[in-house]
Symmetry: C2
Subunit: 543 residues, 2 copies
């Protein structure tokens, strides 16, 4: 039985249906050729395993020529200036280099990121300036040179040949309906450290995706790495599910959501929401679910992704597309069939009163109210989005940001819901992996100790405002709705293709993002807001 016919779907839903899925498929593939091919670049590694890129032409021209000299390890002011920007870790002496196709040796700067020196191939090289006048080796000169270093470093001289080769080899053997499948991105990200990700070719990017928002406190955060390492030698998975780490994490989650009574664990957000839906069915003896927003890829929720829906499959879930009138009328007509209302917060579209009203109406009809906080649960700070909105749900589902990229998710709820576990058969083999618990405990420690939510809200808002200002300066009608810690770009009023061109330009200028998805701030971005906006500005000048 289906509760309604064809509906007017909200704008977000339309994007999901019309833009997002093809966006990862055919449309993007067609758009791909517009992206300029990376220029052929010398690819040799020197004896130290460092890669040398030639200097981009614009960077070279922008330098005032004068007496040239190499920039050496004693140029403390340069190194300090570079460090202060949080851009680069260590300045090492440049050496003469013969770029591919050029006859003349050019001195250049080699900059290493703050990484263990034994990590060989993923050192990042920033092609340096051709020279600097000797009489300007003061702080101003240092600053100017640094500007040039940055300008040069963000020039479209990125070499993606290894990534390209890998994608060619990989696609036939293993694939994934994610951006990489259609060569959406020319690079293959293989390493991360803090806010930065690095591709197979050694290029570095500021990461605005946070791996779908799951890496909230920075890639390879040492506290999380240590916690997981400690677990491994004790074994990861046992037949009994209870464990001190599970208990400790559950207690932390009950503190985080103070209205909650029990926490149960899964590996993915999709699974947690699926479990919550079934638990609600058992707790209420009702069979249908009324939902809005995206809740993962499982069958019950396919109505949100019409392309994926087999023709004759009918789910027990119905979308109300955030249409409050429709929501009310469905509950009035079918309230006693609805086990739960499941909503994903969209703080950039609806105010808190909207969610309070959703909850109130659900309660009037005896439905459980579940907030899908997979994205917002930790990004929003203690209590998740629910606390911001001033509501107490019957359960929340959480995952992203809980364990900084390690797969774990949870249903945190009232005992009324979770007590139905034995009957509802919502369990699986890997539910109690110790790695996930350890990673989550270390991440929650970090979130609380550093007040990550407050920091990302502040820095994220600065980035959001900065981005909006840059769009305005360039006369581009692009919006940035959302919160600081998680906003998206709105290209509705912009020329077709701008989203793709911008994404490609940002990539060339050292920013990794998906202009069709959220921009997820990470904790460390506090240090990198200026750099991010500088790179953004450079990209807008190079669309």
């Amino acid at each position: 039985m289906r509760l309604g016919g064809q509906l007017d779907r909200g704008p977000l839903h339309r994007r999901l249906a019309q833009d997002r899925v093809p966006h990862r498929g055919g449309d993007r593939a067609a758009a791909a050729p517009r992206r300029p091919e990376p220029p052929p670049v010398g690819d040799a590694l020197d004896r130290r395993g460092l890669r040398h890129h030639p200097v981009g032409h614009r960077g070279v021209r922008a330098l005032a020529p004068g007496r040239h000299r190499r920039i050496g390890p004693r140029d403390h002011h340069l190194r300090r200036g570079i460090r202060r920007r949080g851009l680069l870790g260590r300045l090492v002496p440049g050496r003469g280099h013969r770029p591919h196709g050029h006859r003349r040796l050019r001195p250049h700067v080699v900059v290493q990121p703050p990484l263990p020196p034994d990590r060989g191939p993923h050192l990042v090289l920033v092609p340096g300036a051709t020279g600097i006048r000797a009489d300007r080796t003061d702080r101003t000169a240092a600053h100017h040179l640094l500007e040039e270093v940055i300008t040069v470093s963000t020039h479209p001289v990125l070499d993606w040949s290894r990534s390209a080769e890998h994608l060619r080899r990989s696609h036939g053997v293993t694939t994934d309906p994610r951006p990489d499948e259609d060569g959406h991105y020319p690079c293959v990200l293989t390493r991360g450290s803090g806010t930065r990700v690095y591709d197979l070719d050694g290029n570095a990017y500021l990461d605005l995706t946070g791996s779908f928002g799951s890496v909230l406190i920075g890639h390879a955060e040492p506290a999380v790495v240590r916690a997981v390492t400690d677990v491994l030698s004790e074994g990861n998975l046992f037949y009994t599910g209870a464990s001190p780490r599970r208990l400790a994490l559950a207690e932390r989650l009950l503190d985080w959501f103070p209205w909650s009574e029990q926490a149960i664990f899964y590996r993915t957000g999709s699974c947690a929401v699926s479990a919550a839906a079934r638990l609600a069915q058992h707790a209420t003896g009702r069979n249908r679910v009324l939902s809005s927003g995206y809740h993962g890829w499982h069958d019950w929720h396919l109505e949100a992704v019409p392309e994926a829906k087999p023709k004759t499959f009918e789910s027990y879930a119905t979308e109300f597309h955030n249409d409050l009138a429709l929501y009310r009328s469905w509950l009035d007509r079918h309230g006693e069939e609805i086990a739960a209302v499941v909503v994903t917060p969209e703080p950039h579209r609806f105010d808190h009163a909207y969610y309070q009203e959703l909850r109130e109406v659900a309660k009037e009809h005896g439905c459980l109210f579940v907030v899908d906080e997979v994205k917002t649960g930790f990004r929003a700070g203690a209590g998740g989005f629910s606390a911001l909105a001033g509501i107490e749900p019957d359960a929340v589902t959480v995952s992203k940001g809980m364990a900084n990229g390690h797969s774990i998710s949870a249903v945190v709820g009232q005992r009324q819901l979770t007590q139905e576990l034995s009957e509802a058969h919502v369990w699986s083999t890997y539910q109690n992996e110790q790695v996930g618990f350890a990673a989550a405990l270390a991440s929650l420690d970090f979130l609380e100790r550093h007040d990550v939510a407050a920091v990302t809200r502040r820095t994220g808002e600065a980035v959001r405002q900065g981005v909006l200002q840059l769009f305005a300066e360039h006369g581009l009608p692009v919006g940035a709705p959302g919160w600081g810690p998680m906003f998206e770009l709105d290209f509705d009023a912009a020329d077709e293709g701008l989203a793709e061109r911008l994404e490609a330009a940002l990539l060339r200028h050292g920013i990794f993002c998906d202009t069709g998805d959220d921009f997820n701030m990470m904790f460390h971005t506090a240090e990198h807001t200026d750099e991010l906006l500088e790179r953004f500005a450079a990209a807008l000048g190079d669309l």
Copy 2:
């Protein structure tokens, strides 16, 4: 639409429906009080963090009294004998101990498992003999003492007070519909090393569950630990999905299943089979799935777990309960609606010809044939069960044993199936975790280098035969159908309650298993077959 009415369900299905789910719920809870309460035991840790258990009475009585002396570190023959049995790692000098409620000090043996000495609290102590006659300190004496050590160590003097306290605290806060929920087991397993698991109270058990069969090469196998540790500092998850580890693992899987063309990855077995079902729908343009066996907890498969099924939910999947006549008739009547046949191998019930016939009939009707090798894919050796049965499916789903307890699963199939990815929307955030790839690559190395499948088949068969012989000797009508590497106990002809009593006795005698589930052999069991059977024999004498 449903293809058939109420059916005669096969014996396994009946067990699933009638036994297994309540088995984890009410029935077991009711049966629990039969289990004897652990006796009160001194629980103090000494300065070295070692726990001292008093000697079990039967063990003490069994020793011929004589001149007593402590067993010291120079008793090489003892240590060698102990090592040869694979039971214990290192003999450390015993010290006088005043057991709770006893006045006289008793010398005893303290035995450490082969673990890093800095692992403090999880040292395992085996209560030792009260003494040994000086004139018997030869190999025979060593052997006799060893017998005693084993006898004493397997006595029902286990202290589960910490586990009990943990379960009491834990249950209200976090729970899980797995055996621990209802106190099915009195112990909480928190550490594993090789074939052994250890509970919160420091008791050691030979693990016959292999954590649901997923830990195939031993808990905390160092090669896997190293591989995962190496990954952590490079970051675990990135926005792009392709990576050298994913490609390497996919290539390994295509070698493992030589007929296959592509591999795609998920975190759990349930998710992999769900993805395969949807991919088949997209690949064929048909909507229904015909299945037998257990394929996880997701909605489409709820018919296999009737308790969990909301009353009005209708899935696109139909169980044929391994009824070949029914299978044929459904395909004859509805063949062109069936996208795929999905079967879980049950080698203890059906021969290879049966699966060959299933495949043949499916192909006649243009259905894809998917073998759910989540349990068998690696346990059965290269090619999985499909290779043993001489069939080439269109896809297999694999998970357990692939990454030795780390959550990863895969659909390995023909490109016809996997190419539908973009359309089928079967992706999720954590699909490309590096930890899973690294753990799987290290595990596959190990599986191939040590021919794990052959070893577990050999040792498992020895255990299965040994267990059958012991049941016969004790006049217990219990069967052990299955393969060596994975068999189950059949209590159909036995007294009610025997399964529970046996499980409790095995636990007291240092064997951790679930008599209602598979007995999964691990690789290291090669070294421990004798010990396992000795413990089993002791448990049968103590039912």
